[in-house]
């Protein structure tokens, strides 16, 4: 099966809602970053420690990858178009699930009194990468929202979700180091 069609060779691509737009468009930049975040999430999952407890983390990450496909599809669709009505929105339930997971991970960690250097176990390092990509994706989505005349349905929840997700990856990075028995490097200025 060929994975290439050549339909984007002119520098344009099709939105889910049918419009042909330049690949440099703010909408493409936004869902491209979400796609990158999804790949980084997969890297976190692939590099989790082998210790007990990692299975639950993997399930969480697979669910997040599924959520990010949903976010990507929403961003790849012109707001209020007929196609938009076919997509499932990001809701408060998605945000609540992330918050519960953040709280559960945080409860098993020591309190943080200093800045830590991103790194440690490979899964922790990838989680920090995912966190920073998530922050960039969030900035791109904010830029996209500000460039539009009308508010996008569900955009508030999408932004809250991305904001919470970067917090999740920060806590996850710390938890992965703890699980793998890798000490955190404190920034000493």
């Amino acid at each position: 099966m060929k994975v290439y069609t050549g339909t984007g060779d002119s520098g344009k691509t099709s939105l889910f809602s049918g419009e042909r737009i330049a690949k440099s468009d703010a909408r493409i930049e936004a869902y491209g970053d979400v796609d990158e975040l999804n790949a980084a999430t997969g890297s976190v999952a692939a590099s989790l420690p082998r210790q007990a407890g990692a299975e639950d983390l993997k399930l969480q990450l697979v669910q997040i990858q599924s959520d990010l496909f949903q976010v990507g599809a929403l961003l790849a669709t012109t707001p209020n178009s007929p196609s938009a009505g076919r997509l499932k929105p990001i809701t408060d339930a998605h945000i609540k699930r992330l918050e519960d997971q953040i709280d559960a991970l945080q409860a098993r960690l020591d309190q943080l009194n200093a800045f830590i250097l991103p790194g440690g176990h490979p899964s922790a390092a990838w989680s920090h990468m995912a966190r920073t990509i998530c922050r960039r994706a969030e900035r791109r989505v904010v830029r996209l929202m500000h460039s539009q005349e009308a508010a996008e349905d569900g955009s508030t929840e999408m932004l809250v979700y991305l904001n919470r997700l970067s917090d999740y990856f920060f806590v996850l990075a710390r938890y992965c180091n703890r699980l793998a028995g890798v000490a955190e490097e404190i920034w000493r200025g």
């Binding site: 069609t5 339909t7 099709s14 809602s17 049918g18 042909r20 007929p82 196609s83």
Partner: protein, 228 residues
């Protein structure tokens, strides 16, 4: 209903019996299955057909209310699944997935242009059976005997134009037939304007059509379905 592990996800599979096969052209046939209870789909959606570990996607061509599910299949002699489907007998059992896919019609104020090559006509047959009438339907084939479903397609579309391309030396003189490829028609015959294009075909057709649309109809919307 069975559950089978396909990839990492549990996939629902329905066992379905073959209820009929009709050959539409030398290398194309329609195969029909009994419809599972509570099976629902939207015109333009596809199903996966699974047999002996081989999986292929096909677009449903029956009407949403029909008691049978029907597929239009191009027979590939050295293929893994189509020879089995082509040789199936009444009552043989295959497994199918629930319907999926997003190549469904969305009405808008722009004229709809449907363009297919070969068995890529399948979603447009389903659209026609749902009463969706495009301004123009182009069906690209190599020879006129491959214009299956032309009766329902021509009676439904405002304009139905077969595009017959490949047979060297064969003159195409029939009225209403365009001698050339679907993409030739888009390039040379379709007036400028903003359209909703629905394309279904092989990657070469999609690539060429998309290039023409970007150049000649750049404000149009495009929905495409690739088949292999």
């Amino acid at each position: 209903m069975d559950r089978s592990s396909s990839g990492s996800r549990k996939q629902i599979l329905y066992p379905v019996k073959v209820t009929g096969i009709d050959w539409l052209a030398e290398s194309t046939f329609e195969i029909r299955f009994q419809r599972p209870k509570a099976f629902e789909f939207q015109p333009g959606q596809k199903i996966g057909v699974v047999h002996a570990g081989v999986y292929r996607d096909y677009t449903l061509i029956n009407a949403v209310q029909d008691q049978e599910l029907a597929l239009c299949v191009r027979h590939i002699a050295d293929g893994e699944l189509t020879p089995v489907l082509a040789g199936a007998r009444m009552g043989d059992v295959f497994h199918i997935t629930p319907a999926f896919g997003y190549f469904v019609y969305q009405s808008s104020r722009h004229p709809a242009v449907f363009a297919a090559t070969g068995t890529g006509i399948a979603p447009f047959v389903a659209f026609a059976r749902a009463g969706v009438a495009p301004s123009l339907l182009l069906h690209g084939v190599r020879a006129s005997d491959e214009l299956y479903y032309h009766e329902i397609l021509s009676s439904n579309a405002e304009h139905y134009t077969p595009c017959i391309s490949a047979v060297p030396g064969e003159e195409t003189t029939a009225t209403g037939v365009f001698p050339g490829r679907v993409t030739d028609f888009l390039e040379r015959q379709l007036p400028p304007g903003n359209y909703d294009f629905y394309l279904c075909g092989r990657s070469e057709m999609l690539r060429d059509a998309m290039g023409i649309i970007d150049r000649r109809f750049s404000e149009s919307r495009v929905f495409s379905e690739l088949f292999f």
